[in-house]
Amino acid sequence: MTTVNMTVNGRKVSGEVSDRTLLSQFLRENLNLTGTHVGCDTSQCGACVVHVDGKAIKSCTTLAAQMDGTSVTTIEGLANGADLHPVQAAFREHHGLQCGFCTPGMIMTAVDMIERAKASGRKLDEKTIRAELEGNICRCTGYHNIVRAIEAAAAAMA
């Protein structure tokens, strides 16, 4: 067993977990933050993407113990009270989801992608957005509206 300390969505949390506990399990089962989804559980689908110290990672492919001492943001930590994050608002506006299962990971990946592009002064075009969505799988939308939502959010956050 290991004691894990993290800041999750701005709140200091602590948990006693077995060393093999995945970050996705810790978030969902210990902290009841079930917005982070587990789809494939084999690092491919990206439903479990969260931000660790500002970078998107797959929480199903990381041990909670490896992330001791970090700051984690999950989908629950994006909105400001009742105000949706611009990426969440754009996904709603542009119908960037159908069943919604992949959406938390899509949105966390999109926020990371937009912020990295901003930091390096690059404009996100459709081709880049599609390439950057490599690690996120959606079986409903055909991606078209997701790409549109990310384009709109990038413009709103510019």
Binding site: T2, S18, D19, R20, L22, D41, T42, S43, G46, V49, K55, A56, I57, K58, T61, T62, L63, A65, Q66, D68, T109, D112, M113, R116, S120, E132, E134, G135, N136
Partner: protein, 266 residues
């Protein structure tokens, strides 16, 4: 995943000492291969020794034409390094196409090289760049390091601390990715050095893992031009053959990727 004891090392010496006390330990860096393998119970180490927090294994140094990359440096950091891009853009481009953005934020160059997956990208670059693989015990030339599928010259408990190489005059990497897994079905790294010599590293295609192709190197040394590869033959007998592509298909892909790499290097 079977139960495991996790340890975080803060120095190379501490990591080596933790490993020597472990019953059946494994080093973990980004864990992007090892954690999924453990989840499938294809690996079941008693102990995991985390190398990600060892300061001396992180970071990138470019001095003159000499590039040194700490083993715990992530793919995203290599892909985004302006210092490396100035002298060896081919390796930045290679790193920017490994896995996906989330994987690149965790996966490390040392982990990729130590695992020596026959379809991993970095080994091709290490071979073509004539890199030195530096461990806590010695320095191993890339030519002597990679020893077949998932096999390397690393001894038990030996830790890669950094890799270093002299920047070539020109280089590029071209990969034909499997449409589903995105691993290389053939990936070719070409590098041309200031003495005119050329080295070609091939990953994803060889039945014995990464290799250099002497015929292509000779052809490109005498004529640095994609067309110089027209007359070079790639031996089907040494190619992987599986449901994704048979040996003849892969042999052809190797040549096509080599030509694309030379064209991209300019």
């Amino acid at each position: 995943m079977y139960d495991v004891n996790y340890h975080r090392a803060s120095s190379v010496e501490e990591a080596a000492s933790l490993m020597s006390r472990a019953e059946d330990g494994k080093f973990v860096a980004g864990g992007q291969t090892l954690i999924p393998t453990m989840k499938q119970r294809l690996a079941a180490p008693s102990d995991l020794i985390d190398l990600r927090h060892i300061a001396s294994m992180k970071g990138i140094r470019v001095e003159g034409g000499k590039v040194t990359i700490g083993a715990a440096t992530t793919h995203a950091e290599v892909a985004g390094s302006a210092d490396i891009a100035r002298v060896c853009p081919g390796i930045c481009s290679l790193a920017s196409h490994i896995g996906d953005p989330a994987v690149r934020h965790m996966g490390t160059i040392g982990g990729s090289i130590a695992n020596n997956d026959p379809a991993a990208d970095y080994p091709a670059a290490m071979m073509a760049l004539g890199a030195d693989i530096v461990t806590n015990k010695r320095t191993i030339a890339a030519d002597d390091f990679f020893a077949g599928l998932f096999e390397t010259a690393l001894e038990d408990g030996e830790i890669i601390t950094s890799v270093s190489f002299s920047a070539p005059v020109k280089c590029a990497y071209a990969k034909f990715a499997n449409p589903a897994s995105r691993y290389a079905m053939a990936g070719v790294f070409v590098a041309r050095f200031d003495d005119g010599s050329v080295r070609v590293g091939v990953t994803g295609a060889g039945s014995d893992g990464v290799f250099r192709h002497k015929g292509m190197e000779d052809a490109l040394t005498s004529d640095w031009n994609a067309g110089a590869l027209d007359g070079v033959s790639v031996d089907e007998g040494m190619m992987l053959s599986d449901i994704h592509g048979d040996a003849a298909y892969r042999a052809n892909l190797v040549k096509v990727m080599a030509k694309r790499a030379v064209a991209a290097a300019g």
